[in-house]
């Protein structure tokens, strides 16, 4: 005879800690003395207990297996809780754009587009709306694209006082170097990126190899106009 007083909480612990719904057969593979069909019975008993003891949760069977859920009666509390706190999920695109602006500021949208390889129009606008970045002037190059920098609010979030406190390229390299014996990170120096951008820009413009490496990237007109209208 199986000692259910020990087995029952073991099943409970497994379902509780599993990071995805767990099936009878997986439970059986861990608690071997319990057959898959007995698992079902144990879970029924557990649910009866939760109900009698007036607990806020129960075990629910869904396609993939068993999982804990809270009772619907308490859903409004949970909703209220999650509503009241900022979830803090930056979209990948937003985070990328923000990172580029943070470390390359001041920077124009065409430059951001170049580094990301996609149009960042929408993301830049959202970041502006959320007051994480600001317009700080215009590029002196042809096209006079708007330049973006991070805001005070942005810095505050990271607990720093000034953009000069942000890690420098060399420090970034040190921090991210060859952590897991990967290939060492080759972080192009800012001038190198600038060069690269100049080079790519001129390719976009249909020119030959750039003869002037020092020159700032030219912004390709049209896309900028949209922003300023």
């Amino acid at each position: 005879m199986i000692d259910f007083s020990k087995i029952k909480p073991a099943v409970e612990a497994l379902i509780f800690a599993s990071d995805s719904p767990i099936t009878e057969s997986r439970i059986h593979s861990v608690i071997e003395e319990l057959s898959p069909s007995q698992v079902q019975r144990v879970i029924e008993e557990l649910n009866q207990e939760y109900e009698q003891q007036n607990h806020a949760f129960r075990i629910q069977r869904i396609a993939g297996g068993f999982q804990f859920v809270t009772r619907p009666e308490y859903a409004h509390y949970i909703k209220k809780y999650y509503k009241g706190r900022s979830r803090g999920r930056l979209s990948k695109a937003a985070l990328e754009t923000l990172a580029i602006i943070a470390f390359k500021q001041p920077i124009s949208r065409p430059e951001i587009d170049l580094i990301r390889g996609v149009n960042s129009d929408g993301v830049v606008r959202t970041l502006l709306e959320r007051n994480l970045i600001q317009i700080s002037g215009r590029a002196e190059t042809v096209g006079h694209a708007l330049l973006y920098t991070t805001t005070h609010e942005f810095l505050q979030h990271f607990g720093i006082n000034d953009i000069s406190e942000l890690p420098k390229p060399k420090e970034i390299e040190e921090l991210l170097g060859s952590a897991q014996e990967e290939l060492p990170l080759e972080l192009p120096e800012s001038e190198e990126i600038d060069e690269k951008i100049t080079e790519q820009m001129s390719i976009l413009d249909g020119e030959e190899e750039p003869d002037d490496q020092e020159e700032q990237p030219e912004s390709s007109g049209e896309s900028d106009e949209k922003e300023t209208e």
Partner: protein, 239 residues
Amino acid sequence: MAYRVKLKNFEGPLDLLLFLIKKSEVDIYDIPMADITRQYLEYVEIMQLLDLEGASEFILLAATLIRIKAKMLLPRPEPEDDEDIVDPRLELVTRLLEYKRFKEVAFKLSDFEERRSLLYNRGYLEEIEPSEDEDIELGENVNLFTLISTFKQVLDRLPKVTYHEVEDVKITIEEQIDYVLDQLAEEKSVAFYNLMMKLNDRLHVVVTFLALLELVRRGTIIIRQSVPFGEIWIARKGD
């Protein structure tokens, strides 16, 4: 005496030094420098033989130990009032004690970690509703490191522009022993100054110095200085 050495158990030179002090059952406030330094150098030599990583840090402390040992051998000026004499070992002992305490905390942290590893958080949460529109608030999950990592990922997508070549400096006491013996192959004796002048960096100087000590210990060479502050001459023993 036969040791089976597992050097990776030492987190660093201070860890090794603490171990030697403990093993020799000596007072940390009264470290017998000659003895401990000798033992320490033996380990460092093994490290060199095994070509272990981080040997240069161990060599750095070796130099400190030798310096302290030398200071203690110097005749001390007559104390006017004996309160003012600073033990040359004081700084080292202070460092050792500080390190020892953090090591102690680390062991306790390890216990905490062990206990915590037995408690599992709830694994699967479904209640959190995915937000519909793109949430762009900065939350606790976005810190500077996230920002840096993201920046790196973006840059990694850019075509690579440059390649740096970093040369790994590898230098062992044995190599420097060979160097010293080479120098002594042609000349009967070599001036210490000339020997060191040919080396191009500090690490080489330190390791060569250790090599000299080792050669003296083995009885291969002798070191002479005829007048105080005069040139130091290195010669093969028996020549």
